[in-house]
Amino acid sequence: MSPSEPSPAPAASGPAGAARREDRTLGLLLCAPAFLVMSAVAGFPILYAVWLSLHRADLRAPDDFAFIGLDNYATVLSSPIWWNAFAVTLLIAVVSTAVELVLGMALAIVMHSTTVARGLIRTAVLVPYAIVTIVAAFAWRFAWTQHTGWLAGSAAPLTDPASAIVIIILSEVWKTTPFMALLLLAGLATVPVDLLRAAEIDGASAWQRFRWVILPMMKPVILVALLFRLIDAFRIFDNIFVLTNGANGTASVSIVAYNNLIRGLNLGIGSTMSVLICLSIALLTWGVVASFGIGGDSGRRGAG
């Protein structure tokens, strides 16, 4: 931070410099407890998981504990089970996020431009997001259960991989579109009305105003919303756990990790998967940010 800060005077000379150094020390001291707590509750488990992932650590054979380097990674990355789960997860994450973005934008515009019953509409839109995921997932499961479900009739769509994944995506979309809409609504509110008026006077149609004024202004918000949802969707667990429990090739990476770690008690393999999920999310995030062209860049161009 401080190097990029435009400093009014050459640093570290005179009483002002000394005072600033003192402030800095005080700041660091004040941060220290939080830093320690964070490294204990977040840093340690992460490092422990990385350490475990390099060992053969199966609770059923506790005496076999041994350092095995990257063997666990080789085992996981050479397994078709993992790659199938990876493909399913990616598919669900990308498709559901894309659909949510479009629907969420539409809902945000409706919420933004509505003049009557504002509170009621906003509340109604948010209802699915307010329902606990497990409860919502059970509602979806019962709705799609043969004979008893009101959506299923005499078919059993949850038993077929393709239709099961479609239902999983649908329930994800239904559940989290309101969240997307809420984030985008906040972004919409930041678009200056003057700009839209000016565009209107210049003869821009509604679509042109949306495409060339609103969208570029909202780019940073859209990026944040996309990232939030992609990260979230990539970790999808409870929906699948309830709807299919990963049967018929519908398992996500989190389900597979859970099966190995919690059911199989294989700490080594389970930790390896957790680390890989973390890395995948980091890569995904990096990819999205890179392909978006970071806000700062376009901002500078706009200013220049």
């Binding site: 199966d58 609770l59 059923r60 054979a61 506790p62 076999d64 085992t75 996981v76 397994s79 089970i81 993992w82 259960t145 043969q146 004979h147 008893t148 005499s154 078919a155 059993a156 949850l158 038993t159 299919t244 429990n245 990963g246 049967a247 018929n248 398992a251 597979v256 099966n259 190995n260 919690i262 059911r263 199989g264 008690l265 294989n266 393999i269 998967m273």
Partner: protein
Amino acid sequence: MPGWRGVREEVTHGKEATGSPAMPTPLNLDAAIVRILHPIRPAALLALLVGCAPEPAGTVINVYKSEENFFDEVVARCNRDAAGRYTIVVQSLPRDADGQREQLVRRMAARDASMDVVGLDVTWTPEFAEAGWILEWTGEDRAAAERDQLAGPLQTTIWDSRLYAVPANTNVQLLWYRSDLLPAPPATWEEMLAMAEALEARGAPHVIAFTGAQYEGLVVGFNTILASFGGSLVSDDGRTATVDERTVQALALLQRFATSRAASASLSNSRETEVQAEMENGFAAFELNWPYVYAAMRANNPAMAENLAFAAYPSVLPGEPARVTVGGLNYAISAFSRYPEQARDAALCLANRENQKHLAINAGIPPTLTSLYDDPELRAAFPMADIVREQLRNASSRPRTPFYQNVSAVVAAALSPPAAIRPEETARELRRTVQDALDSRGILP
């Protein structure tokens, strides 16, 4: 006044029900506040009230087991008999076996000292014994646990020729069928498939309800078919995968059934409850399920219960009985229990003759004590007694290995969905994945 701190402590006690002898008797006010604060945990609250109200400083024996109907009376009786030596408090686990095991192993791995008696599925004995999580029964205790027990259920409590639990109930699946649709039950799968086809032709309910979801129930069903062909999944010493020609035969039969018109469309998502519902709602003509469905149907659909008949599990080889997979529950003593003596007495009481009879009569759960099968009162309320005993005589068990959970997971995955089985190929896959599971190699699906 105890204040908030006191309340919080009581809540913790209630949840974990650690039941230490030094546990203070709280004021009634505390209980009232807890009741207001935690309306969603009636079980915990009950534990709190039971643990605190009548007995002052007695030993609390925590029993971790799945929820079971009519079990409250069993606990009440044992607590009365204990006459203050201990008080049993049941900590409910989920009804499905996978859910129970997850919670148990998590606590066991953390050496939870609040567990005294644990209700173990018959397949978990090797795993828990090998991990050192449950105590061996010796001398007097062992003799008491073995007395009058049927051989099959007793075998499931033994690992490495040591006894680790007392059998509480046993279980074998039976064939349930609609006597209003069928004059006589089928003896073999061939006959059953033909009957289903004939029923469909005349527009009657014809589904054979079978637990085909990717979970333990599918493994149970497949193990029965495989054992009936004379095969097995794992060698007796639990070290090698035994996949051969008979495995291919069993796979072929399962696949034929799954792709036939006799299979329900939701076969690959059906667990015990769905299977039971298919029968109760009138879609199925046959149901392969545990005897609890008899008591359940009498409660849920008394009209149809009139027509619910039962028979031996259909065989695969004409003239030879099916070798049905043994299920059931055993009580083991946690190695981390602070009161192993009282815990053993409590386990023996929960599994005693009177209580097994009570559960058999009311909940339809097959007992493990030989003499009960000749008890007239029990036979009147539990008409399956003879068939259950007969099936137990030819029963098969699931692979006995500490890595059973891995084996079960890979088998269920390989068989799922049953309609997609390709016998030769799936058998090859099984040979590889089951061996990997036994060696704790590879990853679980």
